[in-house]
């Protein structure tokens, strides 16, 4: 049974229309017009217990809005969201006790107090029994290497140390689901690596369901086997990361190197994109096309020296997708 389900969820924000200039500002005081912003537009998905799901999309795609609806902060305009069998907003407090939430850009730690004090306060808020709290604190402190700064005021910590403390705090009460909104934003390479490895381990070893929003595809590659991709509030892709390339229509690249320039080559199975004389670059026409198909069509009358097939990396696939969309105004 799904631990989280979203069915035709929409979230519409009503915002006043801004009129240009001073006169416009004065006019808008007397006749307010509003525009509706559809931040989430008919999204449906289901997440099973123990899954790790990356929620990906550009700025303004509706990622944070969806997280806020799943955590009970916002109420959907239409459709239904269920988390652990409940509607998060109408059961906000019960829901909050069973989930953990980390916001990459806003701290839940007390700025002037040692990290340990924020943890202690959460022990009372989440009503965590003392022995379980002690066990979890010891385990998380060791796993996230926090021992040397747990008694320091939060204001003295680096961003990486603070994020590790935020994640530890969100896990102290053994939540069934951990929501993370941009957990690696602003972190350096080493800190990002620590956070990613830790989250992957929490998901694998403890079975905690993880939902994370991110701009960083490496987060998804290292933590989340499943990807939900959104744009303009709409669901674009929901599936395994390895299938994203096909779904977005991105093609593999084939490089053929000859001993001498064979002249122009036209193939049905691959389209020539760059001709460097002895080196020619093709895009394969379909996912089903194999190198053998191309070589068979090419025939044996050429002085072929080397063949190289390149899978486009996932970042390039997505970058190309958004670039094409910006240029044409529609998805390719």
């Amino acid at each position: 049974m799904a631990i989280i389900s979203a069915s035709s969820v929409e979230k519409v924000f009503r915002q006043p229309k801004r009129q240009a200039g001073f006169g416009g500002a004065i006019r808008s005081l007397f006749s307010r017009e509003f525009t509706e912003i559809r931040a989430v537009d008919g999204i449906s998905f289901a997440i099973e217990p123990g899954e790790a799901v990356g929620y990906l999309g550009p700025n303004g795609a509706g990622k944070s809005t969806m997280i806020k609806m799943m955590t009970g902060i916002l109420v959907p305009s239409s459709g239904t969201v269920e988390v652990l069998g409940r509607e998060p907003h109408s059961h906000r407090i019960t829901n909050a006790a069973e989930i953990g939430v980390v916001f990459g850009q806003r701290s839940q730690l007390w700025w002037d107090l040692p990290v340990r004090d924020s943890f202690e306060l959460n022990r009372h808020i989440y009503d965590i029994p003392a022995p379980r709290f002690a066990d979890n604190l010891a385990r998380l402190t060791a796993m996230l290497d926090m021992a040397f700064y747990i008694d320091r005021p939060v204001r003295q910590l680096s961003l990486g140390q603070r994020m590790r403390a935020e994640i530890a705090m969100a896990l102290l009460h053994d939540p069934k689901i951990l929501f993370l909104d941009e957990p690696t934003i602003g972190l350096d390479v080493v800190a990002k690596d620590t956070v990613r490895k830790f989250l992957a381990e929490v998901n694998r070893e403890r079975g905690t369901t993880i939902i994370l929003t991110t701009h960083d595809l490496v987060d998804i590659e290292e933590i989340c086997p499943r990807l939900i991709m959104v744009d303009d509030g709409k669901l674009l892709f929901d599936g395994e990361l390895k299938h994203l390339r096909t779904a977005l229509g991105s093609r593999r690249r084939l490089k053929l190197e000859f001993g001498t320039d064979p002249g122009p080559i036209t193939l049905k199975t691959a389209a020539l994109v760059t001709d460097e004389g002895a080196a020619k670059h093709f895009l394969l026409e379909s996912e089903q096309t194999s190198i053998l198909d191309v070589l068979t069509e090419l025939g044996s009358g050429h002085d072929l020296k080397d063949v190289k097939l390149e899978e486009p990396d996932i970042e390039e696939v997505i970058r190309t997708f958004y670039r094409n969309k910006a240029q044409t105004g529609a998805a390719p």
């Binding site: 955590t71 109420v75 806003r106």
Partner: protein
């Protein structure tokens, strides 16, 4: 689920500990508030010494009014003012989101994680002035009248906390609401004086939509047995009911705003 009798002291403890990180600023805050109110009351007493009465109230009665006003305000505002004045920023910076994902009432968390000990200066001054004023005014005290006086004070503090809550809650929907505090403090200034010195429309306003007459004037007038415009003999009962009614309205408004919270985007 959070047990409030444990969580509330833990929140207050965390807040006080965070404030004592800057002890100099805390003590200086107390002293400055004490000095500001002390000098203002001295000015009012000097004016009254020159003119004798204000709206039929002599200086010890005015002193009781001022001290009740300050004490009720301090008790109510320590639970609400700084906490809800910061609501705009909580919404704008997204820290309200972080509060809404905790298994505790957000009002309880906001109020007790910011319980303002900075009002100690106000409270000391108000109690000192009140003790002196009560020794000067002619009131026949009984157990019932003393209990009523305490209940008036609690009710007045409830009005302050409820209005502050409503103003702060408005930021959940409008994002900005701090200008409403300026309006509040406008009426708050007027609430220090006998209501009968103001024109009738203002008297009506301060007994209805901006009910700060119930914060000091109406309960003190009822205690002193002075005539209260528009309310007459109902002044005492109205003073007792005004606080709980304000809290009821504040609760409904808070719930409505939480349900319609949109964040500031992002």
């Amino acid at each position: 689920m959070a047990r409030l009798h444990i969580v509330i002291p833990a929140l207050v403890h965390a807040f006080i500990k965070s404030k004592t990180e800057y002890p100099g600023a805390m003590v200086l805050g107390w002293l400055s508030q004490f000095a500001a109110y002390g000098s203002m009351y001295t000015t009012i007493s000097l004016i009254l010494a020159r003119f004798g009465t204000l709206g039929g109230w002599v200086w010890p009665e005015i002193a009781l009014l001022l001290s009740f006003h300050l004490l009720a305000y301090s008790l109510g505002a320590s639970l609400s003012f700084v906490q809800f004045r910061e609501m705009e920023e909580k919404v704008r910076m997204g820290t309200m989101d972080a509060i809404l994902v905790k298994p505790i009432s957000p009002w309880t968390y906001i109020v007790f994680s910011g319980l303002n000990i900075g009002y100690a200066g106000h409270i000391i001054l108000a109690i000192g002035l009140m003790v002196w004023a009560l020794s000067q005014v002619e009131v026949t005290w009984t157990i019932q009248s003393a209990l009523m006086f305490l209940c008036y004070l609690v009710s007045a503090a409830m009005i302050v906390a409820a209005i502050m809550t409503m103003i702060g809650a408005t930021a959940l929907v409008w994002v900005k609401s701090n200008h409403l505090f300026s309006i509040f403090f406008g009426f708050w200034e007027l609430a220090r004086y006998p209501l009968n010195i103001f024109p009738l429309p203002l008297q009506i306003l301060m007994l209805t939509f901006a009910p700060l007459a119930f914060m000091a004037y109406v309960p003190v007038a009822a205690t002193l047995g002075k005539p209260v415009p528009l309310l007459g003999d109902w002044a005492g009962l109205a003073s007792l009911l005004a606080g709980p009614l304000a809290v009821l309205l504040g609760t409904l408004h808070w719930r409505h705003c939480i349900r319609n919270y949109q964040g500031a985007g992002g």
